[in-house]
C-alpha cells in the first residue's frame, strides 16, 4: 500500500504530458498504430524502391513491378496463412484463374485496365467461394490437399478441355490493354515530377494498386475480422464456444485472400500482356507459401519483403556468373536460414532489430 503513491506519480505524469516526456520508442509505436502512417510508409516505400533497386541492387523496373504484384498476392495470402492459420496449397488457381479471366476479358469484352482488373478480381472471388466452400469442410492437411487438388484440376482444365478459351499450352497471348482512362498509356513513360523516382507508367499503376491493397489489408486486420481471424488461429474451438460461426469466418478469410490473389493475377496479365499456362501450376502455389513464410507470417509488410527476396534470387542472383545456376539451392539455403534464425521471417528479424535499437518491448 505504501508503495502506491510513489508508483502512481510517474505514471500519471507520463499520461498527462505524453507528448513531452515520451521516449522515441513510444512515439514510434504510436506512429505505427495510426492507419494513415501505414499508408504513408507504403507510399514512400513504393516511390523509393525502384530507385534503390535499379541503382544499388542490379535491378530493373519490370522486375520491381513484378515484385509488387507478387507482394499484393503475398499480403492477401498472409491473411489466410498468418492470421487465420489456414495453409492453402492451391492459391495458384486464383492467381492464374484471375490472370486468364482478366486476359480473356481484355480480348473479348473491354480492354480498359480498371475493368480488366475488376473482372479478374471478381472471377477469383466467385471461384474462391466455390473452392472454399468445398475445401473448408475439412481441416489441416486435408484442407491443404483439397486446395492443391482444385489447383491441379484448374491447370488441366486450362491445358486442354478449355484450350479454345485459354489457348492451351501456348498460354493466352491475345491480352490487349487500352490506355488507362483512355489517356494514360501504361507501357509509356512518366511525366516530370514522377520521373525522378520511376521511369515507367505501368510501375506507377501497379504501385497505386499496391498502396490501396496494403491499406485494405491493414483495415481488414484492424477490423473485427482481423481479431476474429486470429482467434480462430489461436483456438478454434473456443472461438466456436464464444458464439462465433467459425466456418463462415474461415470462408471469408479464404475469399478475402483470393481477392488479393485476383488483384495480383489480373495485374500480372496486364503487366506481361500474356498469361502463361504455368501461372496455374502448383509450383506457383508453393512459391506464394515460401514468399509469405520467408517474409514473416502474421505481419502486414513481411510478405512484401518475402516476395521481393524470392523474385530477386530467382531473377537477379540466377544471372550471376558462377552462382547463378545454383539459384534454387541459394533460395533453399536462404529459406532455411531465415526460418531457423528468425522463425517470424524477415519482418520478424526487422522487428527484433528495431526493438534492440529502440529498447521497446512492445509487440
Amino acid at each position: 500500500m505504501s508503495d502506491e503513491p510513489r508508483d502512481a506519480t510517474p505514471a500519471a505524469a507520463s499520461e498527462s504530458g505524453a507528448d513531452v516526456s515520451d521516449g522515441f520508442a513510444a512515439r514510434l509505436s504510436r506512429f505505427r498504430e495510426r492507419e494513415s502512417s501505414t499508408v504513408l510508409i507504403t507510399i514512400v516505400g513504393v516511390l523509393v524502391f525502384p530507385f534503390i533497386f535499379n541503382n544499388l541492387l542490379n535491378g530493373y523496373t519490370q522486375l520491381a513491378t513484378l515484385m509488387l504484384i507478387w507482394g499484393i498476392f503475398a499480403v492477401g495470402f498472409d491473411i489466410l496463412l498468418g492470421y487465420t492459420g489456414l495453409l492453402s496449397f492451391g492459391h495458384a488457381v486464383f492467381w492464374g484463374g484471375a490472370a486468364y479471366a482478366a486476359g480473356i476479358f481484355s480480348a473479348s469484352v473491354s480492354s480498359q485496365p480498371l475493368l480488366v482488373l475488376l473482372a479478374g478480381t471478381v472471377f477469383a472471388v466467385l471461384l474462391a467461394w466455390v473452392v472454399g466452400f468445398l475445401s473448408l469442410r475439412r481441416g489441416g492437411i486435408y484442407f491443404a490437399i483439397l486446395t492443391l487438388t482444385f489447383g491441379q484440376m484448374a491447370f488441366y482444365l486450362a491445358a486442354s478441355p478449355l484450350a479454345f478459351l485459354t489457348n492451351g499450352e501456348n498460354g493466352f497471348t491475345s491480352v490487349t490493354i487500352a490506355p488507362l482512362l483512355g489517356v494514360i498509356d501504361l507501357h509509356g513513360g512518366v511525366p516530370f515530377p514522377l520521373s525522378i523516382a520511376v521511369d515507367n507508367m505501368l510501375y506507377v499503376f501497379v504501385a497505386v494498386v499496391t498502396v490501396l491493397s496494403v491499406a485494405m489489408a491493414n483495415r481488414i486486420l484492424h477490423s473485427p475480422y482481423g481479431i476474429v481471424f486470429r482467434a480462430i488461429r489461436e483456438n478454434e474451438r473456443r472461438a466456436e464456444f464464444v458464439g462465433l460461426h467459425v466456418w463462415r469466418y474461415k470462408l471469408m478469410a479464404f475469399i478475402i485472400s483470393a481477392a488479393f490473389a485476383g488483384i495480383a493475377g489480373s495485374l500480372f496479365a496486364i503487366e506481361g500482356n500474356y498469361v502463361p499456362l504455368g501461372s496455374l501450376y502448383w509450383t506457383e502455389s508453393g512459391a506464394i507459401v515460401i514468399m509469405t513464410v520467408l517474409g514473416g507470417v502474421g505481419s502486414l509488410f513481411g510478405p512484401l519483403f518475402g516476395a521481393g527476396l524470392y523474385l530477386y534470387i530467382e531473377n537477379i542472383v540466377s544471372g550471376f556468373e558462377t552462382l547463378g545456376s545454383f539459384w534454387h539451392l541459394i533460395l533453399g539455403i536462404v529459406f532455411v536460414v531465415a526460418v531457423v534464425v528468425f522463425p517470424d521471417g524477415i519482418w520478424g528479424g526487422i522487428e527484433y532489430l528495431r526493438d534492440k535499437v529502440t529498447g521497446g518491448d512492445e509487440s
Binding site: E35, R219, I220, H222, S223, P224, Y225, G226, I227, V228, R230, A231, E234, N235, R237, R238, A239, E240, F241, V242, G243, L244, H245, V246, R248, Y249, M252
Partner: protein, 252 residues
C-alpha cells in the same frame, strides 16, 4: 421460468450408457451443482448440453426451445455460455483482445459480413469488454499477453471470456481445478459476486464439496449416469443414497 430442461437425455458409447435418461430442470437465477463420483457421467452430461456431443436419444431444451441439432455457436447465441475445464484462452492475444472476441460475438451475432470498420469504432463492444475485465479483476492487465498470465489468472480470463458472451446461463466445468487454495477462494468469491451482480443462472461441475456447499442453491447428484438425488445442500448431504454412492458419505 425454466431455463434449461433435459428429458430422458441419454448418451451411449458402445455398450456403456454414460448418461441414462436424465430429467433435469434448472430455473432462472438458480445456482445448481452437478456432483457425483468419478465416471458418473457429469462431463458427458455437460457436453450434451453444450452440443459438443450428440445425444443417443432424449431432448435438451433451453428457454423452452429444443437445442438438439443446433451448432455450438448457435447455443451460445441463445444465451448459454461455457467455461472450459482447462484454461482455454487465445494464448497469443492480449487479455483485452480475448474478452473482445466474445464481446463481438455477443453484440454482433455469430457472423457479420459488413465487419470492415476499424475496431475502435465499436463502443458497445469496448464497454462490455472493459466491464467484464473489471469484474474478473484483470482490467489492470488488459495489455498482457494471455499466455504469460499465471494459471489462476488464466482461469479468471477463461471465465471472463465466458461472461463476455453475455450469457443468461453459465456452465462451468471444474472452474477451480488445479488452483492453489488462495486462487480457489478468490474464484469462488468471483463466481458468487457475478451471480449476484448479473442474476446469472449457473450449472457447475465440481469435485470440491466445500465449494459446492458454499455456492449452490441446489445440488444434483449423478451416479452411473442417473440422477440419484436432488435438493438443497442439506437435503443431499443427509440422503442415504448419496452417502452410499460416495462410500462413506460426503463428509470427509
Amino acid at each position: 421460468m425454466t431455463l434449461l430442461q433435459t428429458e430422458q437425455l441419454t448418451k451411449q458409447f458402445g455398450g456403456l450408457t454414460a448418461v441414462d435418461e436424465v430429467d433435469m430442470e434448472i430455473e432462472q437465477g438458480e445456482g445448481v451443482s452437478l456432483i457425483g463420483p468419478n465416471g458418473a457421467g457429469k462431463s458427458t452430461l455437460i457436453n450434451l448440453v453444450t452440443r459438443r456431443l450428440e445425444p443417443s436419444y432424449g431432448d435438451v431444451s433451453f428457454k423452452g426451445e429444443s437445442i438438439v441439432g443446433m451448432d455450438p455457436h448457435e447455443v451460445v447465441q441463445q444465451g448459454m455460455s461455457k467455461s472450459f475445464q482447462t484454461a482455454s484462452v487465445f494464448p497469443e492475444l492480449s487479455v483485452k483482445e480475448n474478452a473482445t472476441i466474445a464481446a463481438l460475438a455477443a453484440e454482433h451475432g455469430s457472423f457479420r459480413v459488413n465487419f470492415f470498420r476499424h475496431r475502435n469504432s465499436y463502443p458497445a463492444v469496448e464497454e462490455l469488454t472493459n466491464d467484464v475485465l473489471r469484474s474478473v479483476g484483470l482490467y489492470g492487465e488488459r495489455e498482457t499477453q494471455a499466455d504469460s498470465l499465471d494459471y489462476g489468472n488464466k482461469r479468471r480470463l477463461e471465465l471472463g471470456i465466458a461472461l463476455a458472451a453475455e450469457p443468461d446461463m453459465l456452465l462451468m466445468d471444474e472452474p477451480t481445478a488445479g488452483m492453489s487454495p488462495d486462487e480457489t477462494q478468490s474464484t469462488v468469491e468471483l463466481i458468487k459476486r457475478v451471480k449476484d451482480e448479473l442474476d446469472l443462472t449457473f450449472l457447475l461441475v465440481e469435485h470440491d464439496m466445500e465449494i459446492v456447499f458454499d455456492i449452490s442453491d441446489r445440488i444434483v447428484v449423478l451416479n452411473r449416469g442417473s440422477v440419484i438425488s436432488t435438493g438443497t445442500p442439506e437435503e443431499v448431504q443427509n440422503d442415504p443414497a448419496v452417502q452410499e454412492a460416495y462410500l462413506g458419505g460426503v463428509e470427509e
